[in-house]
Every structure is written in structure tokens, then in C-alpha cells.
Subunit: 142 residues, 2 copies
């Protein structure tokens, strides 16, 4: 199995609400057959009915409340950008679950959850190289 | 907010178990401070304690059972590769929750969950272009 991810599918309760939220953050996608596709660099972020995703995956959904065990992050280029995005997300309807703060690794980060509870960390991490295209490279910790 | 994802963090109950699982799939990473980093193209897949992730995100974890509302996918180049990866994952300790089958869009796909229940779809989709580097591009549905 190659070491890569092609698609991240966010299960949503209300597709229009979810799409509007990401559009208010500046994202632009295409909607086809009750599915929204956002090109995100080399991968695709998809919004799809949470019930449909569970059924497709052969899984039982015990409820949409709380933490789902997985988090997404976007690394940004400055502390100011962390604050700006958290503010923008809150204005768009997100819940800021962890206001931005200094991190143990010398960075600055906070979290919001989208309208379906999916957590996003927005982080400035001076130890992780962020390319001009937004690609993130793990440093050699050796 | 730029339209990109830097990190996908998979919350895990047992870091060694999770790392071993992904290594058995052929992935190679670095472990630092009870965190495993896998470079995956332009982004990074991280294994981290589920409890630590919830605490960091300011969220309450109501339990690790079942569907978390989010799914990952890897698109591959052939039907045979779908079968191979699902087989390889099962051998490595995954649960195949949806055996590979024909899909409504003319492809072929199945799902497994990793030892912490994170769902992965392995899909062959002839309508989505997969680059030599594994990048996935959404077609123009217009």
C-alpha cells in the first residue's frame, strides 16, 4: 500500500450547511450527486452524507456527537494567520474548541470544529517546512 | 483559509500496535515523543494517542467505538490492486468492513478499518485521474 492519501471524506448531516461553511472559508468545489468535491492540492476533500458514508463503509454509526478520533490540520505561515483563520471560521459558524496558544514545540495553534464536529487544528510550526504550494515536509528527527 | 490539508492525525489507543499495522502495509515513519509521523506526499499522516488528541483539541471523547464520521481513501491504479491491498490489510490486522465490489460510478472499491477503527476505502475509479506521483485530480463535472 503506497504511503499516501487520495481522499478525506467528511461525513455531514446537512450538505448545504457544510458546503456553505467551507465556502465561507474561501473554498470552492463542485457538487455532483449530493457530494461536494474540493480539490486540495494532491488530494480531494469530499463532503458526503454521514449516513451514506457509514453505510458505504459497512459501519454502524452510533451517533454524531463528540470526538470521532481523528483530526485534520492546516499549517500556516505565521501566528497572525492562525488568529485570522480561527476568527474567520468562528464567523462562518465553527466552534473554536481551543483558542490559539503557544505550543510545547515553540509554535502557535488552535482548533475549531466545523458544523459537523470535525476538528481542524490551525498551526504555525516553525520546525516544519511549509512549501510555497502548501506542502508540508516532516523534518529529519534523526 | 487555503484549500489544503497539512496533517491527518489518527487518534490511537496503542501507538506501537498502530505503528506496526501501518509498517506491515509498507509505510515508513519517524517516532518522536510518542508520535509517529508518516510523510504522505504533500501532507503528513500522524499517529498520536487518541486521548491526547482529544485533550489538545479541547474535545470530550465519548468512546472509541464505531464510526467517527470521517473516512480516508486511497485511489489505486487497478482492480487487482484493490484486492491486493484489502488482503494485505487483513493480514496486517485490519477488519475488512466492506469487501471489494463494483461501484455505481463504474469503479471497484472496498473498505477496511485499521486497529483503531479508522476507515480506509481502497478504490479504483477510472473517472478520477491518478498522477504518477499518486496525486488525485477531480474531473471537471461541469
Amino acid at each position: 500500500m503506497e504511503q499516501r492519501v487520495s481522499i478525506i471524506t467528511l461525513g455531514v448531516a446537512d450538505l448545504a450547511r457544510a458546503r456553505t461553511f467551507y465556502e465561507r472559508l474561501g473554498w470552492r468545489g463542485q457538487e455532483v450527486q449530493e457530494t461536494v468535491f474540493f480539490q486540495a492540492g494532491a488530494l480531494v476533500v469530499v463532503l458526503w452524507g454521514r449516513d451514506k458514508l457509514a453505510e458505504d463503509a459497512g459501519l454502524t454509526d452510533r451517533g454524531a456527537d463528540g470526538f470521532g478520533g481523528l483530526g485534520l490540520a492546516q499549517n500556516v505561515r505565521s501566528r497572525a494567520e492562525v488568529d485570522e483563520i480561527l476568527h474567520q471560521a468562528a464567523e462562518a459558524g465553527a466552534t473554536v474548541t481551543r483558542p490559539a496558544r503557544e505550543t510545547f514545540y515553540g509554535g502557535y495553534a488552535g482548533y475549531f470544529t466545523d458544523p459537523d464536529g470535525h476538528p481542524w487544528e490551525i498551526a504555525w510550526n516553525p520546525g516544519f517546512a511549509l512549501g510555497p504550494d502548501g506542502s508540508l515536509t516532516v523534518p529529519d528527527f534523526g
